[in-house]
């Protein structure tokens, strides 16, 4: 029988695997989340405890502002319960690494480190029991010589540093500035003195020379030169004197300033004095248990007030003179075995703390006494030095006064010599005038003589011209006569020549005829003789004789005519010859006239030559005169020029003398000022000495600080974060358990209802109720048990892992895996999950089991349809009947309604919590750095920065390429107490100009964004600290000054809050300058600057460089580093958001799957009937789904409400004191949560669609069973 029963159970599981899985899944979620969240803090604490134990983190740390001596260390070691002690050194320094400056705490690393074994990366094993706070070497080597160091392996800023890099310890800017000032002053003083002396030497010579020259100067040039020379010398002399005097005054002032640096008494713990080197080579990177959190790492007086980096250097590098230990680390015996988060640990350590505190006062007193002795001696020296300085200052001032007087005398002398020069110039001018006049007269005379000569020459010229004209006339007459004679001759000749020709030819003709006659007669004779002798040839001879006789006859005939012509001609010859004679006479007359003319001509030419010679002579005379004139003029001009120059020089000299006088005057003023200054400094020094004395006298108050791990930021805040998760763990799983109960209830009710007949049959057979109930209880127990086991196993590993990995962004505590199962928690979670399910199952089964078997055999009375409230509204009529069914169904199955609404609400709430959390943290960045903090750089300055450096800073910040705006502020770290909390740290900001401060920090209320004013007498707190303190506008808060370690001092002020403003990161108190003055009692020292620096990266690094080059600038910090820190935090949150979204999705799936599963199985007949009626698959699904979707929407809306509550719970729980998360969930997150829920719903419904379509219509023909 038992077997059959078990088989039945097995089969019913197999037959309803969906239902089984649904129960298992929801229980898995509930128990798993519960166990996971519950074990997370335990796991975190356990991980931290293991890590701290394995690295020997101290249990107690003892510090004293005055340092600890080896006697102190021995005394501490002797306290009961102390296991081991490790004295150590530390110092804070600004360290320059990877191009940036970081406030770094430098720790000493004991030699034992080199032999420790840290190879597993999570622990450090050592054989030296007194080696504590053992860092784990992650990369590189241990430092083993001077100038080597290791840095944090975990910090983001270390990422830019590599092994082998050299980091530089910045000298403390205070000291640096002082030294520079001294040097500069000395140098300046020296130069000035030299100049003055040189000037004095040159003086007399310069004045004497020109006066000697003056005597020799008789000419124009000489006079001018003299005047000029005198002037120049005078002017130069005057100038030099004045400069010398002024310089002297300056130098004296500088010297005084420099020399009266007051000796002050202080316990010297500056890094550069304590450390052997100021440059360190990075040889490795370590994880230090002492620094297990990235921020905050501790407070410091440097930089922005927070430690940003740590550094370990060999212990031997702390080489300061008589250097006391900075701190002593202590472990408590038996504490290692205890869990550090447990009360037992606290008690154990507490005892030892008390033990150390008990011996502290005595040791502290001894320390003070010895220190006071030393200090007093030092102070006495200082006072002696002060007296010496004072005397020195007095004598120096006397000296300067004398020098100024000398300068006055010299100026007077120079004035006199300038006057002399002026006189000489005047004389020279007069002389020049005279010379000018003389020269002009002489020139005039010469000119007159020349003019007379010229006139005479002009008359002579006239005569010559006349003579010339006469001569010309004479020549003309002569020439006319000669020409007429010539004509006459020509005429005669034209008559005579043919005549003589005719005569000759006539003579010739006569002669020829006579000759021919004679010849003929001779020839006749001859022929007569021949004829006679030779009568034979008588005939021929006779003929020839006849010819000749004829010639003779012709000739005798022609001869008379010829003779007549000849005689005619001979008759005419007489008149011709007489004409010729006449002409010959005329010719001789003409020749006589010519001779006379020639004589005249010669006479004229001689006169002319004489005249020309005279003209030439005049021209020469004129030229000479001109030359003389030019020469005279040039000479005069030169003289004038020389005089003019002299005049100018005199004027320059006068001017220079004036300016020299001015300088001397300024020098005198400066001297007066510096005298005041020096006196003030002396007074200050006096006061400082007095206050140093006071401090020495007050030394007694100083005490030890005995700090346990709660004062270690990493350890304490890790523990605090673990606690936070614990409180979240208490809330979240509630939803899952609630939903698990509802799911179990509805599912099991359905199951029992389905098996009504089976139950009736069993009853009828004779099974008792308990036995029958067992089936359902076993079923539920199996389902929930399986779910619980799977859920707890998975989630109690996964959740702590995810959360710790997320925290690993900030905490450098190793995450162990797998984590040990926390059995009590697991049992509790499983018990809760299974118990709730069983209770629900019992409740579901009970109702049916009570009924009589007979009734059970019948189909259950169907749940009667009921009218719902909505039907009584007019709206009802307008609804389609499908909506009516839907609405009636919603209210008909209340359990399902509640289950679905709660489940879906949980899903939406989880989504909203996750997204809202992301919004809240994202807002910190967006709002703080987008809307509220408008400046992006903070520059801190030395309190005693000198004026010129201060001006340089302003000049750099006024460069629009570098920064757009800047304002002076006072920043001070303080503590505040109010009715609800005390000694909360905040940053006091006193703006120099409250009216424009809104430009740098938006003062507004968070709700409504009302502008909040900061009056001169106002005090405005940021929201978070106001809330923590429990104060509002009009309430009073107590402000407490803190010491370097961050502990409260006895100085406190009560201030009324005039406003509360929105702010997310850090706590600020803004105070009007007047209020500061009236509260603190002294005017605010604006030693910091808020600036809006350029976003251009290159310009920004240039800006940093330029600012850092100015002495007196302490630090230049940008907000970017903070922004980066929160970016990483946002990543952490986003991981958690993913977990939440997954959980939400699971929740939605389980609930909706279950709901639709029940709805479908329960209404199979209805669905089949609808199909038979001709409903399409879509219409059928719509009919069923409308209800589910409506439930999902209602659930999601409730979920939004629930989510708002949950989100604000988580936000407030997760917040730390220094941060306020955003309080707004963005609209987008609401929409996204809502839509995501609907998407989950949609996915489930899509999956169930197949189930509906598979419903067989034949079901409709069956009976209800």
């Amino acid at each position: 029988m038992k077997n059959a029963f078990a088989t039945e159970i097995r089969r019913s599981i197999r037959g309803s695997i969906g239902r089984f899985v649904a129960i298992a899944a929801i229980v898995a979620l509930g128990s798993g989340f519960y166990a996971g969240l519950l074990t997370t803090p335990t796991d975190m604490n356990r991980a931290a405890d293991a890590y701290f134990d394995d690295t020997g983190l101290m249990d107690v740390r003892v510090v004293s502002p005055l340092g600890l001596t080896s006697e102190d260390v021995t005394a501490i070691a002797g306290v009961e319960g102390v296991e081991s002690v490790m004295p150590a050194y530390q110092t804070d320094a600004m360290v320059y690494m990877a191009g940036e400056e970081y406030a770094t705490r430098v720790h000493s690393l004991p030699p034992a480190a080199a032999s420790s074994d840290t190879s597993d990366g999570v622990s450090s094993k050592t054989s030296h029991p007194a080696y504590l706070n053992r860092p784990i070497l992650v990369e590189g080597e241990w430092p083993d010589g001077t100038g080597e160091c290791v840095l944090s392996a975990d910090l983001v800023i270390t990422q830019n540093v590599s092994i082998g890099d050299v980091v530089k310890i910045e000298k403390d800017s205070d000291e640096e500035a002082t030294e520079t000032e001294e040097g500069a002053a000395e140098q300046a003083g020296g130069e000035d003195l030299q100049q003055a002396e040189a000037a004095a030497d040159v003086d007399p010579g310069a004045l004497g020379e020109p006066l000697a020259d003056d005597a020799a100067g008789t000419g124009v040039e000489a006079a001018a030169n003299d005047a000029a020379g005198a002037d120049v010398a005078a002017a130069e002399a005057a100038e030099t004197d004045a400069e010398a005097a002024a310089a002297e005054a300056d130098s004296s002032m500088g010297a005084l300033d420099a020399e009266v640096t007051t000796p002050t008494f202080s316990y010297d713990d500056e890094a550069d004095d304590m450390l052997a080197s100021d440059t360190y080579t990075v040889v490795g990177f370590v994880s230090a248990p002492y620094y297990s959190v990235s921020s905050p790492m501790g407070t410091t007086a440097l930089g922005s007030g927070s430690i940003q980096q740590f550094m370990y250097v060999p212990e031997a590098d702390f080489t300061g003179e008589d250097l006391p230990y900075s701190e002593v680390f202590v472990t408590v015996s038996g504490a290692r075995e205890l869990d550090a988060s447990s009360g037992a640990y606290e008690r154990r350590v507490g005892e030892v703390v008390q033990g150390i505190e008990a011996i502290a006062p005595e040791l502290a007193h001894a320390r003070v006494e010895s220190l006071r002795g030393e200090a007093q001696a030092e102070l006495d020296d200082a006072r002696a030095e002060y007296d010496r300085q004072k005397a020195l200052a007095d004598s120096k001032m006397q000296e300067v006064a004398t020098e100024l007087e000398d300068a006055d005398t010299q100026i007077a002398e120079n004035e006199q010599s300038l006057k002399d020069a002026q006189e000489k110039y005047d004389t020279g001018t007069k002389e020049l005038e005279k010379k000018k006049k003389e020269s002009e007269e002489r020139l005039k005379e010469a000119e007159e003589a020349l003019a007379k000569n010229e006139k005479e020459l002009e008359a002579a010229k006239k005569q010559i011209d006349e003579a010339s004209a006469q001569l010309d006339e004479g020549w003309k007459v002569y020439n006319d006569g000669a020409s007429a004679l010539n004509d006459a001759w020509q005429e005669w000749k034209s008559q005579a020549d043919p005549f003589y020709e005719n005569l000759k030819s006539a003579q010739d003709a006569v002669g020829e005829l006579e000759t021919q006659l004679e010849t003929a007669e001779k020839n006749i004779q001859l022929y007569d003789d021949a004829l006679a002798q030779n009568p034979s040839n008588a005939a021929e001879l006779e003929a020839e004789r006849a010819e000749y006789v004829k010639v003779r006859d012709d000739c005798e005939a022609a001869l008379p005519a010829a003779r007549k012509t000849l005689s005619d001609l001979q008759a005419q010859q007489g008149s011709i010859d007489s004409a010729k004679a006449d002409l010959d006479k005329q010719q001789s007359d003409m020749e006589a006239a010519k001779a006379k003319m020639d004589e005249e001509q010669k006479k004229f030419e001689k006169a002319n030559a004489e005249y020309n010679a005279n003209v030439e002579q005049l021209a020469v005379g004129k030229r000479d005169l001109a030359a003389q004139k030019v020469k005279a003029e040039t000479e005069l001009e030169e003289a004038q020029k020389a005089l003019d120059e002299a005049k100018k020089q005199i004027e320059d000299g006068k001017k220079e003398l004036e300016s020299a006088k001015d300088e001397v005057r300024t020098g005198k003023t400066d001297f007066e000022e510096s005298k005041v200054n020096v006196n003030k400094q002396l007074v200050d020094a006096e006061r400082e000495l007095a206050s140093a004395q006071q401090r020495i006298d007050d030394l007694e108050e100083s005490d030890w600080y005995v700090l346990d791990r709660d004062e270690n930021y990493g350890s304490a805040s890790y523990q605090a974060d673990a606690d936070r998760i614990a409180s979240i763990a208490a809330v979240f799983p509630l939803i899952f358990f609630l939903v698990a109960a509802l799911v179990a209830l509805t599912t099991m009710t359905r199951m029992v209802d389905e098996e009504r007949q089976f139950i009736g049959t069993l009853k009828a057979i004779g099974y008792d109720r308990r036995k029958i109930a067992t089936k359902y209880l076993v079923y539920a127990a199996l389902a929930s048990g399986l779910g619980a086991v799977v859920g707890i196993l998975l989630l109690s590993e996964a959740l702590p892992l995810v959360i710790m990995k997320s925290y690993a962004v900030m905490y450098f505590i190793p995450v162990p895996f797998p984590m040990p199962l926390d059995v009590p928690v697991a049992l509790l979670a499983a018990g809760l999950g299974v118990g709730i399910t069983l209770a629900a199952t019992a409740a579901a089964a009970w109702k049916v089991l009570r009924e009589r078997p007979a009734l059970l055999m019948l189909p259950p009375a169907p749940k009667a349809g009921k009218r719902i409230l909505l039907e009584r509204t007019p709206l009802w009529k307008h609804l389609s009947f499908t909506w009516k069914v839907t609405l009636r169904n919603l209210f008909r199955y209340k359990r399902r309604f509640v289950m679905t609404v709660v489940g879906i609400a949980g899903c939406t709430a989880l989504l909203l919590t996750g997204l809202g959390l992301s919004d809240s943290i994202g807002d910190i960045l967006d709002k703080q750095y987008g809307e509220i903090t408008k400046y992006n750089a903070t520059i801190t300055l030395d309190e005693d920065i000198i004026d010129t450096d201060r001006k340089s800073v302003d000049a750099v910040l006024h460069d629009s390429e570098m920064a757009t705006a800047a304002t002076d502020v006072l920043i001070d770290q303080m503590l505040a107490s109010g009715p609800q909390a005390s000694e909360k740290s905040f940053e006091l900001v006193v703006p120099s100009d409250p009216t424009t401060f809104g430009e740098f920090f938006t003062m507004r209320t968070r709700i409504g964004h009302q502008e909040v004013e900061l009056p001169e007498n106002g005090f405005v707190l940021t929201e978070k600290i106001a809330k923590v303190l429990g104060v509002g506008v009009g309430d009073f808060v107590t402000l407490i000054e803190q010491d370097d370690v961050g502990n409260a001092t006895t100085t406190s002020y009560s201030v009324q809050v005039t406003g509360v403003v929105e702010n997310y990161l850090y706590n600020y108190g803004f105070m009007g300058p007047n209020l500061y003055k009236s509260t603190v009692g002294e005017a605010p020292q604006f030693d910091a600057i808020f600036a809006k620096a350029t976003d251009n990266y290159d310009n920004r690094s240039l800006l940093t460089e330029r600012l850092r080059d100015i002495p007196g600038v302490k630090t230049v910090l940008y907000n970017d580093e903070t922004i980066d820190t929160y970016r990483t935090m946002l990543q952490t949150v986003n991981k958690v958001v993913i977990v939440l979204v997954l959980a939400a999705a699971l929740l939605a799936f389980v609930v909706l799957y279950n709901l639709s599963n029940i709805n479908i199985t329960e209404r199979i007949r209805e669905i089949a009937t609808l199909k038979v009626l001709g409903f399409t698959p879509g219409e059928t699904c719509g009919y069923i789904y409308r209800e589910i979707v409506l439930l999902a929407i209602i659930g999601a809306l409730f979920g939004l409400l629930l989510g708002v509550g949950m989100e604000s719970f988580v936000v407030v729980t997760a917040e730390v004191d220094q941060t306020m998360f955003g309080r707004e969930i963005h609209l987008l997150s609401f929409v996204a949560s809502f839509l995501l829920t609907l998407v989950f719903t949609g996915i489930v419904l899509l999956a169930m669609r197949r189930k509906i379509s598979r419903v067989d219509m034949v079901e409709s023909l069956k009976s209800n069973e």
């Binding site: 749940k863 349809g865 009947f881 009516k884 009636r888 089949a1168 001709g1174 409903f1175 219509m1257």
Partner: protein
């Protein structure tokens, strides 16, 4: 051609390795306006026949036609619309939606039809004019079945299929419902098919189809059907 024709219709279910022929070569005709009673013992294939005729299942082989339309060739979608517009179904267990009133149950069917009849009139016709706003839980079995008939009729179907309409009812009520169906057939001329194992119903039918072992064993035409009032079982 007859209003409804079954020609050599077979329906074979495969259950693992075994093939079971629920209907095996069934053939018969039904004329329009007839009141048809299909009788047979359990497992004879009555329900399968009804499923095939009502478009809730498809044939393995053979032809089913209604008003000259080949129902046996219809696709899944066509079958849906066939059920919607052509068939009115009356179930043994009424299958009313518990959460809807009588009137709303009728409207449920009416809202998806093309030419529906007035729901209120239909309910009045079945004698429930005064129970319009009652939920099924508030009605007796006979009344519920009448609502179911009204719902089927309101769709104005070509064929009214009734699966053991009196099966869950007592004698008197069963008779009244039977009478209603008979009257509906006579008064509206609608074709009504009643599937039953009760041979007593044969008397009221125009046509009786005897089913046995998946076949139409015998079809008898009743020339003189008697009133439902008069029969006994």
């Amino acid at each position: 051609m007859a209003f409804v024709e079954f020609r050599n219709v077979s329906k074979i279910y495969t259950m693992g390795e075994v093939e079971v022929a629920a209907v095996d070569g069934m053939s018969f005709d039904i004329e329009a306006g007839e009141l048809v009673v299909i009788v047979g013992p359990s497992g004879a294939g009555k329900t399968t026949l009804l499923n095939l005729l009502g478009g809730m299942d498809s044939v393995t082989s053979g032809v089913v036609t209604l008003d000259n339309r080949p129902v046996s060739d219809f696709s899944e979608v066509e079958l849906t619309y066939y059920r919607r517009y052509d068939i009115g179904f009356v179930f043994q267990f009424y299958n009313l939606v518990a959460n809807l009133t009588a009137k709303e149950n009728v409207e449920l069917a009416v809202q998806i039809c093309e030419n529906p009849l007035d729901p209120v009139k239909m309910l009045e016709l079945v004698g429930l004019g005064n129970r319009l706003d009652n939920f099924p839980g508030q009605l007796s079995g006979g009344e519920q079945q009448r609502v179911a008939i009204a719902r089927a009729l309101a769709k104005n179907p070509k064929l009214l299929l009734c699966d053991e309409p009196t099966g869950a009812l007592d004698y008197q009520t069963g008779k009244a419902v039977l009478k209603l169906l008979q009257d509906t057939c006579h008064n509206t001329g609608r074709t009504v098919v009643i599937v039953t194992h009760n041979t007593a119903f044969e008397a009221i039918a125009n046509r009786v189809i005897h089913v046995r072992e998946g076949r139409a064993d015998k079809v008898t035409i009743n020339r003189r059907p008697v009133s439902a009032d008069t029969i006994d079982w």
